[in-house]
């Protein structure tokens, strides 16, 4: 009996060693990839943000000089202003549109699947392909101007992406349209987690649908609002593709489409100022990290899934 128990003990021990080594083998490649292409870059970016760093490596140790320079940098200021302005308009607009669409497709409607598919469709297409379509529609001799000319009776042919007082606003409109479908899906998941008995109670009390929405649904969606807001803000702070496309990377006209990430890209790839670009990246990361952390701490991750 003693021998068999002992053998059993060692096979169990051997088995758990085997299980552990198989476990390590199975996660080895993903973990290596995350360490090399995420964690190491994070550390590296923090490190070189304290240096003047060029194509051939270290030039000079500048301490927090890069960070101090950022605050006196006219172009960074412009990029920050544009990005915050962009977020201030796009985030509320995306949330409102996303919520409206979600409430609509959450009704007992005919063709509900069709409507949901239609509203989500722009989110499926790639940012560059869709910006090309927008560049056509909003061009000087495009359909939008043709429509405006037809309605007002006077010739209108301003290039929407090509003039500094409408370029960024046009990108805002474009992105509200293309991402509201994604926000709709998040809100839909959140809407469907509301227990139906609260609606029953409201129906018994004779509350109309408008009142039910504002008094019951809207407050109960609080976790959903917060989740969508954070996702939307993070996305807005990272706006790049559309600005790069319409300005061919320059952030023009007159820096009106210069965003933080576009400036970071230009500083790094065109300017080869790696240290300075990394400092910009760290600042952006700090903002995003804080937002994500607040979200996780307040609501946990199971909120929407």
């Amino acid at each position: 009996v003693a021998t068999s128990a002992k053998t059993r003990g060692t096979t169990l021990g051997r088995e758990s060693v085997r299980e552990a080594s198989v476990g390590y083998a199975f996660v080895a490649l993903p973990i290596a990839s995350f360490l090399i292409f995420f964690m190491y870059p994070l550390g590296y970016a923090i490190y070189i943000s304290f240096f003047e760093w060029g194509a051939l490596g270290k030039i000079d140790s500048v301490g927090i000089g890069n960070y101090r320079d950022i605050f006196d940098d006219f172009l960074f200021g412009r990029a920050l202003k544009n990005t915050l302005y962009y977020a201030a308009i796009v985030v509320p607009a995306q949330m409102a549109l996303g919520l409206s669409l979600a409430v609509i497709v959450n009704q007992a409607l005919r063709f509900r699947t069709f409507f949901r598919a239609a509203f989500y469709f722009p989110s499926v297409a790639g940012s560059i392909a869709i910006t090309a379509v927008a560049a056509y529609i909003l061009s000087a001799d495009g359909i939008l101007n043709a429509g405006i000319s037809a309605v007002t009776g006077s010739e209108y042919n301003d290039p929407w992406f090509g003039q500094s007082d409408t370029a960024l606003e046009s990108i805002m409109a474009l992105n509200v349209w293309t991402t509201s479908g994604t926000m709709m899906l998040f809100y839909l998941a959140s809407l469907q987690s509301i227990p139906t008995d609260v609606y029953e109670a409201a129906a018994i009390d004779g509350a109309g649908s408008w009142r039910t929405f504002w008094k019951i649904t809207f407050p109960l969606l609080k976790p959903g609002h917060f989740f969508v807001a954070v996702v939307s803000v993070i996305g807005a702070l990272q706006v790049f593709d559309q600005a790069f496309f319409v300005s061919a990377g320059s952030g023009g006209p007159n820096y009106s489409t210069m965003t933080i990430v576009l400036y970071l890209y230009n500083t790094a790839i065109e300017g080869v100022r790696f240290g300075y670009a990394s400092a910009i990246g760290i600042i952006l990361f700090a903002i995003i990290f804080t937002l994500t952390l607040i979200q996780r701490l307040l609501f946990g991750r199971a909120e929407v899934a």
Binding site: E19, F38, M39, P41, A45, G126, A135, G281, L284, T292
Partner: protein
């Protein structure tokens, strides 16, 4: 998940009241029904709602519709307000494919998206299985590391990854401008791994135990038992990854800019736009080429898109 049509469960008190009302035994306090005209106004209201909804749906579609019709027009026609071309032709498509190399960009996009999707599927499911089922010291810490990568934005990785690809540490290989470079930094994503792990956690353990009794090893259990049970999660990862790679602009721009033979569709569209500013039919043809494959996948696998997006939402 959230995508199946969900009939609202009948609400007993309300149903009872309605029945009472229609069957004539009107209870005290129940509002009388059958007011003349009410039913009709209700119908009119519904019709208005549907008309509005179709109009909004149309607004969401019109830009795509316009890009398709424009791609079938001639250049002079493309600047007008006419929706449909007088004489539709596929000239713009043949131009895009023959004169502007969009066939090359298309193949590059297909190749990279297929490659990245395959490796992501394999590594995310294998890793997800290990994190969900196998016990090994440090598992929780390593999983925290996976979740931690979700918080690191692409822009922060730009400089370090760019430098790494120019001259890879230790081995000193240049990967900038190569497919290998793109593939290497996109082997697997934390979102996919997370999604797979969560799904494996919901599968009852009985299946594996049966396999274990039959003497199956860990890899065989993963391959023969777990993978076949994880269909919906695998579909969501496939779509999420394929779409992400197909539409990716940021990394191809950084890795391939300057070498047109490596361009993917988004990069090709960008370059075409900067070189041939107002060749609208060709530009729209290129956009249609980039949108249609994803649109088709979306039409056929809609429900997995929903699952993938909602799960990717944890990425933030």
């Amino acid at each position: 998940m959230a995508d199946e049509p969900r009939d609202l469960p009948p609400v007993p008190p309300v149903v009872a009241a309605e029945q009472l009302a229609t069957e004539g035994q009107v209870a005290i306090g129940t509002p009388p029904t059958g007011i003349p005209g009410q039913e009709r106004s209700e119908r009119v209201r519904r019709v208005i709602v549907y008309v509005l909804l179709f109009f909004v749906a149309l607004l969401f579609f019109i830009p795509f519709f316009w890009s398709v019709t424009t791609s079938l027009k001639t250049l002079p026609e493309s600047v007008g307000f006419d929706l449909l071309p007088d004489d539709p032709s596929i000239r713009a498509y043949s131009q895009a494919f023959s004169a502007y190399d969009f066939n090359r960009y298309f193949l590059n996009s297909v190749f990279l998206a297929a490659l990245v999707t395959t490796s992501t599927l394999f590594l995310a499911s294998l890793g997800g299985y290990a994190f969900a089922r196998l016990k090994f010291p440090g598992r929780e810490v390593l999983f925290m590391l996976v979740l931690g990568t979700l918080m690191i934005p692409n822009e922060l990785r730009l400089v370090p990854v760019f430098q790494m690809l120019i001259d890879f540490p230790i081995v000193h290989v240049q990967l900038l401008g190569t497919y290998q470079g793109y593939f290497l930094i996109n082997l697997v994503t934390a979102t996919s791994l997370f999604l797979m792990r969560q799904y494996f956690l919901t599968i009852p353990k009985d299946y594996e135990e049966a396999a274990k009794l039959d003497g199956a090893g860990y890899f065989k259990t993963y391959w023969r038992v777990m993978l076949p049970l994880a269909g919906p999660a695998l579909a969501a990862v496939t779509i999420l990854t394929f779409q992400g790679t197909w539409n990716d602009f940021f990394w191809p721009l950084i890795i391939f800019l300057g070498d047109e033979t490596k361009y993917t569709l988004p990069l090709g569209i960008f370059q075409f736009r900067t070189q041939f500013y107002t060749q609208w039919p060709e530009l729209m043809a290129a956009s249609v080429i980039a949108i249609v494959p994803i649109a088709l996948i979306y039409v056929f696998f809609q429900r997995y898109f929903v699952a993938g997006v909602t799960a990717a939402g944890v990425k933030g």
